[in-house]
Subunit: 123 residues, 2 copies
């Protein structure tokens, strides 16, 4: 159903807050991650840096409950409408990973930190 | 500012309706497309299938006026908040490219066609 083969096995998946419409993040899915997401209704991505499945929230507890799944016209991008447990999708503690706005040559941080990453990811 | 080099020169760019929050489409940008988008405030992507810059709406007239630009935490995904001229971002005539909802093993078309592609793209 999804054309994973077109782009080397991975397609982008957008997570959008089901209630507010805020775009939370973009990650990647292979076929296995997509199928697990549909089966468990919790977002499972594929981590390109770690080269393995990434069950969002497995470390922080901030899982994404998947309410609805959409495919785009080319069937090579996935859109998830989710409920983000803990309120913050971003590992830096913001509700959305898109917390920096481009203004001229600068980036301005918008939004507030909901948690301190150092407290959540004890490394 | 954007890490184009991390992913072979192209990063995903999400277009979201600035007023309604609807996710309209995902396309790709190289550095040149990104810089043109910032300069002109009209969305310019890079077409992977045609291997060249794709000035969204150059054929249909349905350009995307860019209101705001955001980068994600890894600076390898772009989020545009846009005003979509003509109301339809999708070449199939829908407001959003994500007009198909995954329901079990099926795809269900949601949303209404705003234009007939045959009339707009006269080929």
């Amino acid at each position: 159903m999804v054309h994973f083969e077109k782009s080397g096995g991975l397609v982008p998946a957008i997570a959008q807050d089901a209630d507010t419409g805020q775009v939370l993040m973009l990650a990647w899915m292979n076929k296995e991650a997509y199928e697990e997401t549909l089966r468990t209704r919790q977002a499972c991505y594929y981590s390109r840096s770690r080269s393995k499945l990434w069950r969002k929230g497995e470390e922080s507890g901030n899982v994404q409950e998947v309410r609805e799944v959409y495919l785009d016209c080319d069937a090579d991008t996935i859109l998830l409408k989710v409920h983000q447990i803990g309120g913050a999708a971003c590992h830096e503690g913001y509700a959305s990973c898109f917390f920096r706005k481009v203004e001229g040559d600068k980036l301005r941080v918008i939004g507030e930190r909901l948690f301190d990453p150092k407290q959540v990811y004890k490394k």
